[in-house]
């Protein structure tokens, strides 16, 4: 067991995967010599060499397109797109190429590639460097989308993504990179698609992921002072998502809140709410309440951004509302 930062855990996962498998290569802007804009790939160039750890031009369409080609021939490219906002430029390669290759070509091609996308974070980065666009990707059949919330999961889900035979998007919240946590010496393999009960509770379920896990836990602690025991379910994987675990939790608590940093409208929460309103209808004793960002771009000014991002108060209020 050692205490490392979230970003270091990803670094270790990349290093371990590269040491274990020569077909793993890294692409990205400033990932090699500079060690990544958030320091996640620091030291990997020295250890694995310039053939495997490559600084790319600022060409997001070609970076991901080339990764698709490399993956078709059996390499396992791990691509970093500096900010999730820039994935817009890679969308054709992801949506029309990567996601459909296995299907269109009759199962002849596996596409073992990973795209790492730093999102959100409340770091005062303004409208074009702060977005949480994971729902777009989760909407595309043929892509998997994971979003680690803890240091252990940062390692485990990155390894699982690289080991996966299909294209996997790893969404990393920028506010988590510096967070410290325990990383066990030997990590069990995790399966993509399994949720984690971050805190058990009997009165209401808060389904969440990424940076909102800690915020939801803070909301749960605040609620506990009023005698309300909220269960916090960390999805860890958004596509596929653990419908069974969410339904089981709902069956225990009969109330459901879904919290994420992304814009609420047409988001991950909408999908979960719709599914639970269907298959969990008999379990529900209150309205399903979503907590997400308002329907607007991320503002730059500190005060405005602080209001924009969901916080523990809003999540706790949502729980109270569904219990009322």
């Amino acid at each position: 067991m050692s205490e490392v930062r979230f970003g270091q855990a990803i670094n270790r996962a990349l290093a371990d995967a590269m040491a274990a498998d020569e077909s793993v290569v890294l692409f990205g802007e400033d990932v090699a010599a500079p060690g990544g804009p958030f320091g996640v790939t620091r030291g990997l160039l020295d250890r694995f060499g310039a053939e495997r750890v490559r600084d790319t031009p600022i060409s997001e369409a070609a970076i991901v397109g080339a990764a698709v080609g490399a993956a078709m021939s059996g390499l396992k490219p791990v691509v970093e797109i500096m900010f999730m906002d820039f994935v817009t430029l890679s969308m054709d390669a992801l949506v029309n190429q990567a996601a459909k290759a296995r299907f269109m070509f009759g199962g002849q091609y596996a596409l073992p590639m990973v795209v790492r996308l730093p999102h959100g974070g409340g770091i005062n980065a303004g409208p074009q460097h702060s977005q949480c666009l994971e729902a777009w990707l989760a909407h595309v059949p043929g892509l998997k989308v994971v979003c680690p919330a803890t240091v252990a999961d940062a390692y485990a889900l990155t390894r699982a993504a690289i080991a996966d035979p299909d294209p996997v998007i790893v969404v990393e919240n920028k506010s988590l990179y510096a967070v410290k946590g325990e990383l066990p010496e030997s990590m069990p393999n995790v399966t993509i698609g399994k949720a984690d009960i971050a805190r058990p509770g009997r009165d209401a379920t808060i389904v969440t992921y990424g940076a909102m896990r800690d915020v939801s836990l803070a909301a749960a602690s605040a609620l506990a002072k009023d005698g309300i025991e909220a269960e916090v379910v960390d999805l860890r994987s958004l596509q596929p998502w653990d419908e069974t675990a969410v339904l089981a939790s709902l069956a225990r608590t009969h109330r459901l809140v879904i919290a994420h940093e992304a814009v609420e409208a047409f988001g991950i929460g909408a999908e979960i709410a719709a599914r639970m309103a269907d298959i969990g209808f008999d379990e529900l004793d209150g309205p399903i309440v979503r907590v997400g960002a308002p329907f607007m771009p991320v503002p730059f000014a500190k005060e405005l951004e602080a209001r924009y991002r969901p916080d523990a108060t809003r999540i706790a209020d949502a729980v109270r509302r569904t219990l009322a």
Partner: protein, 340 residues
């Protein structure tokens, strides 16, 4: 258009025959460049003091590019650029107070605190931003130029981007369209030799960016972007062509940024000596200053007076940007769409 020189390796070209500036022109260039320099230094200080957060990309070292180009255009011409935009805004005549207050995220900022350092606009000054997605402003510039052509006016659009942006695909889509439709757009590649921590040689298969339009038959020229006179001269040639309906061209400005890419920059990708050498040998402001003094155009105390005037503009901007109120909470809900 005369292709004055191609170095192909991002080195500054030989100056050639210098274009002489009148005293007024020298003074205008000096003032404008100094305003940008002092403004940026102040922004750096305010960042260090915590008044500015997020991203902040300083233009120090590159002042001659935007000031020289501005001297080559007329009112009504448009300017569009990247996130390294403070200098462009000041050069178009935007108010230093409004720019600085946007950096501090205040209600008196050009975007009322919602855009920040990278995203400001001024309809009045024909400044179209301030864009954070590398390369994305280039097709927008072609579109602005299309609007000029469509309206039948003779305005041109200056479209600025970096050496790093020159590797984005959409830049070439815009080049093709601009040439195909003979759009009055001038693509200004500010080659400051680095894209964040990556030097041009490590990201570009060919580093003579002036030739990047060759397959579209777009003429290009490499310009000493540290000499405001060379910039203006090249700008005038390009603008004249574009106004006459002869279509786009590329001006590769060989320049240099003294500061880090943004405020947090480990600067391990270049040596301190490299920066010092450019500063000492090519500083665009110092060159004008020395020229004026040597030609006896101006005396030290007159220059001091100008320096003082610039400082007071910048100090007033900083004062305003620190004391102007934060945007009201209700601003969170405005300007997403026009209310029905």
């Amino acid at each position: 258009m005369a292709a004055t020189s191609h170095t192909g390796n991002g080195q500054f070209p030989d100056a050639g025959t210098p274009v002489q500036f009148t005293r007024d022109e020298e003074l205008t260039a000096y003032r404008e460049m100094l305003l940008i320099r002092r403004f940026e230094e102040k922004a750096g200080q305010l960042y260090g003091m915590g008044f500015i957060g997020g991203f902040c990309h300083l233009y120090i070292g590159q002042e001659a590019v935007v000031v020289g180009m501005q001297m080559a255009i007329k009112p009504g011409d448009q300017v569009i650029t990247t996130y390294r935009d403070h200098g462009h805004m000041l050069a178009t005549g935007m108010d230093a107070k409004g720019v600085m207050a946007e950096l501090t995220g205040r209600s008196g900022g050009y975007s009322r605190g919602k855009g920040g350092s990278m995203h400001m606009f001024s309809k009045e000054k024909n400044f179209y931003g301030g864009h954070g997605i590398v390369g994305a402003n280039v097709p927008l510039g072609a579109g602005l130029a299309f609007a000029n052509k469509y309206r039948g006016n003779d305005n041109v659009c200056l479209t600025y981007f970096g050496d790093g942006a020159a590797n984005q695909g959409q830049v070439y889509e815009a080049f093709n369209m601009a040439k195909l439709w003979h759009l009055p757009v001038i693509f200004i590649i500010e080659n400051n030799r680095y894209a964040m921590g990556t030097a041009i040689e490590r990201a570009a298969a060919t580093t003579d960016f002036s030739r990047r339009g060759a397959s579209f038959d777009i003429p290009g020229e490499q310009v000493d972007g540290m000499d405001v006179r060379a910039v203006r001269a090249a700008g005038e040639r390009a603008v004249k062509r574009a106004r006459a309906g002869e279509g786009p061209c590329i001006l590769e400005m060989l320049t240099y940024r003294y500061r880090g890419h943004s405020m947090s920059d480990p600067a391990k990708y270049r040596t301190r000596e490299e920066v010092e050498r450019v500063r000492e040998e090519r500083d665009p402001i110092e060159r004008v200053r020395r020229r004026m003094l040597e030609a006896g155009m101006i005396k030290e105390d007159e220059l001091k007076k100008i320096d003082g005037e610039i400082r007071s503009i910048v100090n007033a901007a900083a004062e305003f940007a620190q004391n102007d109120p934060e945007p009201d909470a209700s601003e969170l809900w405005t300007d997403v769409l026009l209310p029905a």
